[in-house]
């Protein structure tokens, strides 16, 4: 059960963001409803979440793998199952998902060198964000451009935030998208 009341219907100041959520996800996720008592936070966090979940400078499918690896690394549970479903819907194979969940990605044929380097970044941010080596960044820059690297770092740290907020508030969203995204 959520720590705070989940606001089922929008109030003054949240009408637009609830409508955006319905338009984007097909419904209003429980996290958005839990944020609903605070107009500013509901608006800005939901809008950022919508911005993060979609095609961008990197593919949405790879973003989902980043999100799953981040949630696992940070021991966060909020929406983990939902993101597994999104990844599958976007074409990520079971074998690739399976190799993500432990350390097999380090040698798995299902992962490119570029993807492996991103997972090393997630792992290091989980250990100590102050200690990401220049060598790792140099390797990342050989595969990803600056805009992609900012997006990658933003997706990692955003879902570190979303996981913390969802878990702390005791929110469950077993399905994030009720509309077809495949």
């Amino acid at each position: 059960m959520s720590v705070v009341n989940q606001v089922e219907s929008p109030t003054t100041g949240t009408e637009e963001v609830y409508a955006s959520a319905v338009n984007y996800f097909g419904h209003v996720p429980n996290l958005v409803k839990a944020l609903g008592s605070n107009t500013n936070m509901c608006n800005s966090i939901t809008n950022f979440m919508i911005q993060s979940l979609g095609e961008g400078r990197i593919s949405w499918a790879f973003k989902e793998l980043i999100i799953l690896k981040t949630l696992k690394t940070m021991n966060s549970h909020y929406s983990y199952g939902a993101h597994e479903k999104i990844a599958r819907d976007l074409g990520v194979t079971e074998a690739k998902l399976g190799d993500m969940a432990n350390s097999l990605w380090e040698t798995s044929d299902h992962y490119s060198e570029a993807e492996r380097l991103v997972f090393h970044l997630i792992k290091q941010i989980g250990i100590d964000a102050n200690d990401v080596s220049a060598s790792l960044w140099e390797q990342l820059k050989q595969h990803w451009n600056y805009g992609q690297l900012i997006e990658i770092n933003a997706v990692i740290t955003t879902f570190l935030m979303i996981g913390r907020v969802g878990d702390a508030l005791g929110v469950s969203d077993p399905v994030l998208f009720t509309k077809d995204i495949s």
Partner: protein, 211 residues
Amino acid sequence: MAHLPYVEYDQADQVTKQIYDKTEARFQMVLNIFKITGHAPEMAEKMWEIFFDILQEGDLSWYEKELLILKSTKMGDCFYCVTQHEAVSARLGVSPEKQADIVGVVYRTSPHYEANEVAMLDLCSHIVLNPEGIPKETWAAVKQFYNDAQIVEIVATIGAYLQVSKFGDALGVELEEVWAGHEPVLFNAEPPNSKAAQGHFDHFVSQTPNA
């Protein structure tokens, strides 16, 4: 040196320029953490809105939010964030003595902290360490003082500052030159756990005039 170049105003696209203008208006300068996001303006635009919302009076006072920012970023050993918010919180009236007592669990017995602030900071520590293990007594204490809208703002502020601190630290974003000579409070009260953060701290102190 940061791991990616900063995007200066004259290199920025229209969206990024608008973000920089808003930042300058709010904070009197464009911080390096904003400049590094100029490589992905569409993401930066949405991300920074969260922080523009937090850094003002809300359902929760800005003063209380500054305490949460200091606590959460200190626990994450983010020297960049802590330094910025030692200054911001001081402007809002948080004394250096009160800032120093936020480390560890010193705030619990400090004469500078009220019961509502202790409850809020206890919650902050649990969220940073293990959000699934927040004791019911901690929630009960928080709910004595704060309503739902305020609890959302407490949790969102902690989450957002975990986000931005890891974002900036991973990229090696450096403190701006304007901070030269700043006397650190929190990291003098309690050294960082991270060896890398200790290195950043030692480097900063060694650059301080007359150090």
